[in-house]
């Protein structure tokens, strides 16, 4: 479903993704783990046509994101690290807008929106402006939105960041269910190892732009001689803390948080 070969992305003097190759199978839940700044989000951006790769080849459902951007965009849904809803619009309007942008016919748009809002327990609040939603509700709505146009692949970039255990648990239950009923391939990143352990069939660990290990949770634990995935992860990537310098988007994020109080 996803095929990545010798993928490289360089920014000026910094190599964010350094010659990685992997494959994700149809219907699989695949976890992409790594410390901050390891290259996870950059890889997702390249797969989702937001960034052109420096070199290497990409394939999504047989299509090339660099040359067939519009066709590729119909194939996937994505939940970004940062929220990407419009807070002034209601839940239903956010879904409607998404459906129109993805060319979902009106009747199907309404039916799927209703089905997904009910599944993610947001139906009662469908006419509430999204800015009045809690963090968990926003995330649920974003994931519901990602499924609206029946994508073949769903990208989830740290979807559970900042959620309480209840919301996280519920979110993964829904994702697993839709993965089974609609045969959606799921490509996810997270910092919570137990989540990856629970939902993902295969896991890739990336560090400093390189894939250091790939396999099932069990294989990773055996390879590193550890008891848990968390220990395996620390063995593979070391214990040094990666401090990223704050860039302009972090500053903006802080400012908007201040304004929203």
């Amino acid at each position: 479903m996803i095929r990545v070969q010798n993928l490289v992305k360089k920014f000026a003097d910094f190599t964010a993704v350094n010659d990685i190759s992997f494959q994700v199978l149809r219907g699989e839940i695949f976890a992409f783990l790594g410390p901050n700044g390891a290259g996870k989000t950059t890889t997702i951006k390249m797969l989702t046509t937001l960034l052109p790769p420096t070199s290497g080849s990409l394939e999504l459902n047989g299509l090339d994101p660099t040359r067939q951007a519009n066709e590729v965009r119909r194939q996937f849904g994505i939940v970004f690290q940062d929220p990407s809803l419009d807070g002034d619009l209601t839940a239903a309007e956010n879904l409607e807008l998404h459906g129109v942008l993805y060319h979902v016919p009106r009747k199907e748009r309404r039916e799927r929106a209703q089905m997904l809002l009910k599944l993610f327990e947001l139906w009662d609040r469908k006419d509430t402006q999204v800015k009045k939603f809690s963090g968990g509700m926003k995330r649920r709505l974003e994931i519901a939105r990602g499924f609206l146009h029946t994508p073949k692949i769903l990208f989830l970039d740290e979807p559970t960041l900042g959620l309480d255990p209840q919301s996280r648990n519920q979110l993964w239950t829904h994702v697993k269910r839709l993965n089974e009923t609609e045969q959606v391939t799921v490509f996810l990143t997270t910092h919570y190892m137990e989540e990856a352990d629970r939902v993902a069939q295969r896991i890739a660990v990336i560090d400093h732009g390189k894939i250091v290990a790939i396999g099932t949770s069990q294989e990773l634990r055996q390879r590193t001689n550890t008891e848990s995935l968390e220990e395996a992860f620390l063995t593979l990537t070391g214990t040094t803390i990666r401090d990223e310098t704050a860039n302009s988007s972090d500053q903006l994020r802080q400012m908007v948080q201040m304004w929203r109080r």
Partner: protein, 248 residues
């Protein structure tokens, strides 16, 4: 087509839902209208130019449309990191349609805001001289709105943070306003200033509005319409090009 419409609708919905913001945005034009209008009125009258309120009202309407439309383009900056922009950029819709939808939406909002100020001016005592020419006034409002919404989009596409925004406000938008003849007559100006006022697109918008609403025009309707329409096309193309280059 649907994509353009839904993005246009989004801008209009956002506007009609932010009541507090609508009221707040009336503050600045009201100050210009009332404080300058009545404060400079006697001097203007003495100089033999008639009522300053009649003169400045079209300028204040033009200013409102300018600020609102530039802001709508620069709102890209907010949509950029907190995300809504990404949602539209990964959608299977050519970027030009996204840009057109946003820009037309922003222009519509700016024209609505201009209409609101037009009503406020009427309440303050402004009187259009010929009712039949009011639709022409709205056409000029819309043209100013499109020119500067596209201008805002072109600038917003490259902005990364709020410092950049301040720079744009102080070195581009405010000069465009002050050099446009919104507040003073453009004849008998020093040579250098006169050149600047001639290259300012808003000069033609304000002059067009003034011509339509009060019957006094310096450049003439045809010149105003032609210049604005050409600039609108150029800026739409430029804005679309800049928008297509956005990387997140």
């Amino acid at each position: 087509m649907h994509a353009i419409f839904i993005l246009w609708l989004r801008e209009v919905k956002k506007y009609t839902r932010s009541r507090a913001q609508i009221v707040a945005s009336l503050g600045q034009p009201l100050l210009y209208l009332l404080v300058l209008g009545f404060g400079l009125g006697p001097v203007f009258q003495k100089a033999g130019y008639g009522s300053y309120l009649q003169f400045v009202a079209p300028g204040v309407i033009g200013m409102t449309v300018l600020f609102t439309s530039v802001f709508s383009g620069i709102a890209l900056l907010f949509d950029r990191q907190f995300g809504f922009l990404k949602e539209t950029l990964v959608a299977p819709v050519p970027r030009i349609r996204i840009m057109i939808g946003r820009t037309l939406g922003g222009a519509t909002v700016a024209a609505l805001q201009g209409t609101l100020i037009f009503v406020v001016c009427m309440i303050a005592g402004f009187r259009p001289t010929r009712l039949a020419l009011i639709p022409l006034g709205f056409l000029f409002m819309l043209l100013i709105a499109i020119v500067f919404a596209a201008f805002g989009t072109a600038i917003g596409s490259g902005l990364q943070d709020m410092q950049g925004f301040q720079l744009v406000m102080n070195f581009l938008v405010l000069p465009i306003f002050f050099l446009s003849g919104a507040l003073y007559r453009l004849d008998n100006l020093p040579k250098v200033l006169s050149v600047f006022t001639r290259v300012d697109p808003l000069s033609y918008g304000v002059d067009g509005l003034r011509g339509a609403l009060t019957g006094v025009s310096q450049f003439g309707v045809v010149t105003n319409l032609t210049v604005l329409a050409c600039i609108a096309v150029v800026l739409l193309v430029f804005g679309a090009w800049r928008f297509s280059k956005i990387e997140i």
